[in-house]
Symmetry: C2
Subunit: 424 residues, 2 copies
């Protein structure tokens, strides 16, 4: 299918036309391209931007949004979240993931990175809805074993990879995941590193989210969580480390050396009282930084435009310098850097030959007027409800409030029913 | 006019009916009230909440939204904001204020506090649009004068008060304003304090917004800005102090002693690199705290629901404790505490006998599902685009995207034209 976006403001390009041929962007330019198009998209008062990346979430936790607020972290986890998760079923993971994906599509997200379990159900939801994702089955291991290859979670990871890696024309990728240092023994991390060696498997790992976790690792292993993972060999893979609130300058040197990605989750880190990730310092180390929402249980929305805004103003405030972070840098975190973290070389930018992951924002909304520069409007003024169009791999998933691949009324009803029956 | 809100979830009351008679709430209860109603409002899937207060803004700066981003503070002010403001006309103040009010109405705000100039134009816009406001003409004075009563800004304040205080059936109040300590001489502050003594005039003042301002005051006067204003006698009035990022524990004791209000502007303070106001400490001093957006030039939206969310998660993050601020406390900042700061005893709460300032939020939006408790949904999940209804003093100003008192297409067009011509 050939689609033409009528001439309009295109982020980073000025006033342009964009043509899409199948899954790919085939033209960007000021002159109207030749040829016939199956569809010409009305772009009046719209800003065209690349699709956004949510590089850390647990989509199946969607049903826990707003459950057990304002509690100390240990009570929230032990009295609320863990007991609820213990009762989770594959069907609930499917429904929650589908609902999380609906929220992400509406908010202009083209791809997400996910750590959880019953992941085949999340894979199903990704397949049906048309979004992209890197999903992973979190491995936890609290005791050394003679043979980690018999570990159920490891075996599930292997099976998930066989069943789904590069499924749905490459929209779905399967990563490995070690949940964190504090939830794994060193022998399991070493075993995984050996297993994945030369297989080009990416990893998703929680790292130095809380001060307690960071310091207890030093007490336990004599090194920081970053040092721990370096020792195990895991860093030879493409690893995305979520949170990194407490990493040191030495940790940053290590992460840069191995080209790891740091995934910044500003809302979740504030809301759970973890602290503020040192974004400016991490960027000074030229580390690839992406953005994540974490789950709806700790955010409470899957809204990367909110994280873009928050990451920008929070860092200016902490640095006490309104010029310490530029709008252009922040937008990279949510686009091209996200694609890098997901091992997606053909995504993340509006460029001929790249996958057509294109969103449109309504510039005629009250909050977007006046506009001086599209990048400032995008970072500082836009509301996620201004997203009026979301195309992934050349396929329109959302347009003017309507979904093309999912029955939103059915999904909303299922979530309301689930909340009532599960917490009856 | 008698209006009935059909039974629905009412914040702080559970499932209730609300009846409105003229400007006032006449009934809140679980049983359907007797009597005839001119209108019954459909509340299906709606959360009814009190109208929100924006207690610090400069609405006439609306046309500067997004102008000169990511610059150091002194360059932003001296190269961008001050030169633009120098060219401001009364007509531009009218158009910008009208547009700012349109944004506030859409975002569920029932009343705002404003400091600027050409204030009769802002008064006009308040009169026409049906919103409430406390407006003030900022006084600045850089040299002592033999007779401050001849100061133009002081005379404009006096005139504004005579012309507009309690205008529009009390919707509009006129406050006095000393811009800040660093923009005023002590004799002017003393003169104003004497003039307003026993007149029950409220004040709006910037206080300890930046560390520089705070420390330079100590160097200049030997006291903090709070101490400076205490010395002048200004604190005997009802004063709302905006920002207070750098106030000390001693300052807090003073502000509590005089029942002053602190207006927290979390987004603006972060974005301008001023820092983070110590909200938890200030609340521990039992000081009345309200919320403000500051202007669109430093925020970039007039969205109190965003400030509610930000105030909550920011303080949890800074305190490193997710239980340090509770949702119930934060909502008070944006409602009843705002009314207190504005000398409005008959507003700020859903209570029989109070003014009918009522908003509704759409709970059927993806981001608000599931709901465990309305207060958590309001603070952590809601998006300002979920506001679907805004009633001020019993009059519907906004409903399902439509304004009843202003021509939004005309106003948007005027702002776009103004931006083009002014910055041509």
């Amino acid at each position: 299918m050939k689609i033409l976006f009528d001439k309009t403001e295109v982020l980073g390009h000025g006033e342009c036309y964009i043509a899409v041929d199948g899954q790919y962007i085939s033209y960007i330019g000021r002159e109207k391209p030749d040829g016939d198009f199956d569809r010409v998209i009305n772009t009046k008062d719209k800003l065209v931007c690349p699709g956004l990346y949510n590089c850390h979430t647990h989509s199946a936790m969607q049903f826990l949004r707003g459950y057990g607020e304002d509690l100390p972290l240990d009570r929230w986890l032990n009295e609320k979240i863990f007991p609820a998760e213990d009762r989770l079923t594959p069907d609930m993971v499917y429904k929650s993931s589908s609902f999380a994906i609906a929220e992400m599509i509406k908010n202009g997200i083209c791809s997400f990175s996910d750590m959880y379990y019953f992941c085949d159900k999340t894979a199903e939801a990704v397949g049906e809805t048309g979004i992209k994702a890197n999903i992973s089955r979190s491995i936890v291991s609290f005791a050394p074993a003679a043979d980690h290859s018999k570990d159920n979670r490891f075996l599930e990871s292997v099976q998930l990879y066989k069943d789904y890696h590069n499924a749905f024309e490459g929209r779905l990728k399967v990563d490995f995941s070690l949940h964190a240092e504090y939830t794994n023994v060193e022998s399991m991390a070493r075993f995984c590193a050996e297993y994945t060696e030369d297989k080009h498997i990416a990893y998703q790992i929680h790292l130095s989210e809380t001060e307690k976790e960071h310091n207890e690792c030093i007490a336990r292993h004599g090194v920081t969580p970053t040092g721990f993972f370096e020792k195990t060999g895991i860093l030879n893979n493409n690893v995305s480390f979520a949170h990194c609130v407490w990493i040191t300058e030495d940790d940053m040197d290590i992460l840069k050396k191995y080209n790891s990605t740091v995934v910044h989750n500003p809302a979740s880190n504030l809301k759970l009282g973890s602290g503020v990730m040192p974004l400016s310092k991490i960027l000074k180390h030229s580390i690839n930084v992406a953005l994540g929402t974490d789950s709806s249980a700790s955010n409470n929305t899957l809204d990367i435009l909110k994280e873009i805004y928050l990451a920008a103003i929070l860092q200016k405030g902490i640095d006490r310098d309104p010029s310490s972070i530029k709008a252009e840098e922040i937008v990279k975190l949510a686009t091209v850097n996200g694609a890098i973290s997901q091992n997606r070389n053909d995504c993340g930018e509006l460029m001929v030959g790249k996958k057509a992951d294109i969103i449109m924002l309504d510039l005629d909304r009250v909050n977007n007027i006046p506009m001086f520069s599209p990048i400032y409007t995008l970072v500082y003024s836009v509301n996620s409800s201004d997203v009026c169009f979301n195309m992934v791999d050349g396929r329109v998933l959302y347009e003017n409030g309507e979904y093309t691949t999912l029955d939103i009324d059915k999904i909303k009803h299922e979530m309301k029913t689930l909340r009532k029956s599960f917490f009856a």
